[in-house]
């Protein structure tokens, strides 16, 4: 229980701190990579170098990933600022998304399947 609570708080705090640090580094170095990506690379390096053990951050990190959907719901409401999307334009885009995502999934699936079959 104590380990889980620690892992929750430490995991959340570390992810937040690495995000802030990553964003700061991206700004100072003027590189257009999101701070979260830099933070992710640092966290991965710390785990790979065995400076951190996965179970120290697991509860917090898993919580963030599990609730990813909550985090972008408010952004979806931005459609309120785009009244045109409620009309014909929205319908056209919707259809293009249906066709597009199927083409993407089919091409990836078929390519990977073919490569794996070649490999045997």
């Amino acid at each position: 229980m104590i380990v889980r609570t620690f892992s929750m708080i430490f995991g959340l705090a570390l992810c937040a701190a690495l995000w802030v640090a990553g964003s700061w580094a991206a700004e100072v170095l003027a590189i257009p990579v999101p701070g979260g990506v830099i933070g992710m690379a640092v966290l991965f390096a710390l785990l790979a170098a065995r400076v951190l053990r996965p179970e120290w951050v697991a509860a917090g990190a898993d919580l963030l990933i599990r609730h990813l959907q909550l985090f972008f719901i408010p952004a979806v409401l931005s459609i309120l600022s785009y009244p045109l999307l409620f009309g014909l334009l929205g319908l056209k885009i919707f259809v293009s998304l249906i066709v597009g995502v199927f083409i993407v999934m089919a091409s990836v699936g078929l390519t990977v399947d073919l490569l794996l079959r070649r490999r045997g």
């Binding site: 999101p34 309120l80 045109l84 998304l97 999934m105 990977v112 490569l115 490999r119």
Partner: protein, 228 residues
């Protein structure tokens, strides 16, 4: 309690409720991001609430996408054996998916006339939100609008999962790659219903697709800066 704060509390409560419902129904269309967005949207329109009024406090949730991106390091580390074993196939799948996604977006934009901000927000629809939003911002789109196209793509992709399975795609790795690369998080949930290996691969494909595109954009922009 101010209206903005009430919206934030409502968002959280609805999300928790929708999660419980989703756990029981367990279908792609019950994804909380879709159901909660639809309910909130209907309520906001009925009450004449603007996006700025809604987002006053609720936007704090969106900030959590930053730390969540950092947290992706953990599944990448946990599944490093899977990545090492299949890295070449995964790289091929992610590259094909990214190029095809950009190509179909380009065709869509040629066929459907629309304003520049909406158009630029469409490009990253096959990436997971934590990558899609900064990607859209970087190319002059609206990151919030990009999140809308992302969730639509995810739900549509998972909805077409069964259709996808009718194609001659047999290996669970190939199914997982297709769903994760094309339909990110929602596709990954669908992939998990096919089996643990397909799900794990889909989750990795989702993260790697985002990384691949963000880093590709970085390299592209850097080269552009170098030569202009």
């Amino acid at each position: 309690m101010s209206a903005g704060l009430a919206w934030a509390v409502a968002t959280l409560m609805l999300y928790l409720g929708a999660r419980a419902v989703h756990a029981r129904l367990n279908t792609y269309w019950s994804a909380p991001a879709l159901s909660v967005s639809v309910i909130l949207l209907a309520a906001a329109m009925a009450m004449g609430t603007s996006y700025a009024e809604y987002a006053e406090y609720s936007y704090a949730f969106v900030w959590m996408l930053g730390p969540a991106t950092v947290a992706f390091a953990l599944p990448l580390y946990r599944e490093r054996a899977l990545i090492l074993r299949y890295w070449a196939v995964m790289l091929a799948g992610v590259s094909v998916g990214s190029v095809v996604s950009l190509a179909v977006t380009w065709v869509s934009l040629r066929l459907i006339p629309m304003d520049a901000i909406t158009a630029q927000s469409l490009w990253p629809r096959s990436m997971t939100s934590p990558f899609a939003m900064p990607f859209a911002a970087q190319i002059g789109g609206d990151p919030d609008l990009a999140a809308l196209f992302v969730i639509l793509t995810g739900v549509i992709g998972a909805a077409m999962g069964n259709l996808l399975l009718r194609l001659p795609i047999h290996h669970p790795i190939a199914k997982g790659m297709a769903l994760g690369t094309g339909a990110h998080g929602v596709g990954t949930s669908f992939a998990f219903t096919l089996g643990g290996q397909a799900g794990a691969i889909a989750g990795l494909a989702m993260i790697l697709t985002g990384l691949f595109n963000i880093l590709g954009l970085f390299v592209g922009l850097s080269l552009l800066r170098l030569f202009t």
